[in-house]
Symmetry: C2
């Protein structure tokens, strides 16, 4: 995977960085759910839920599927894979270019 720019990486992790969005993702672990169902379970108004769903979808962590007047949301396997690779790439020590710590007594 090509290394993403900092802005994109930050956006992905930002999407994970909110308690209510964490709750939403947890609810989606048991499979696709429509917005009205999610709304019953988390303690926010409908516009706030819609806002969170947009952030999760923009970050490609969640995908939405419109069916009539309902929106069904589910965890995006592709997006999750990307997030994991991102975290992996970000945190893997690069021994090849390893340098001594700069300041010495």
């Amino acid at each position: 995977m090509l290394e993403m720019d900092e802005r994109k990486v930050a956006a992905i992790f930002k999407a994970f960085g909110d308690e209510n969005r964490i709750r939403i993702i947890k609810l989606l672990r048991s499979g696709e759910k429509c917005a009205c169902k999610l709304l019953e379970e988390i303690n926010v108004t409908q516009p706030t839920l819609s806002h969170h769903m947009k952030i999760l979808c923009d970050a490609e962590i969640v995908v939405g599927r419109k069916e009539g007047k309902w929106m069904h949301y589910s965890i995006s396997e592709k997006g999750v894979k990307q997030a994991k690779e991102c975290l992996e790439q970000l945190t893997t020590l690069n021994v090849e270019y390893k340098s001594k710590s700069c300041c010495e007594k």
Copy 2:
């Protein structure tokens, strides 16, 4: 691993959710670096860097080691492992309790 509460999970990902902190982490991939070196590479003032390092350390993504007047920072293998497990746990479909999507035409 025990499932962490939403607050803690959000805090970990929040720490990854800032462009400058992403840059800092990337710099640490090549090994331990002191604050002054990091400061040369990212475009913020010294107190701002200090602030970011605190957030990264609090989230246990980075560890600091004081040596005389210098602070040496490095990626925490333990913290990174925890973040990865957290992401894994959060995004793994729970087929056991899988339910039909609620709203049907």
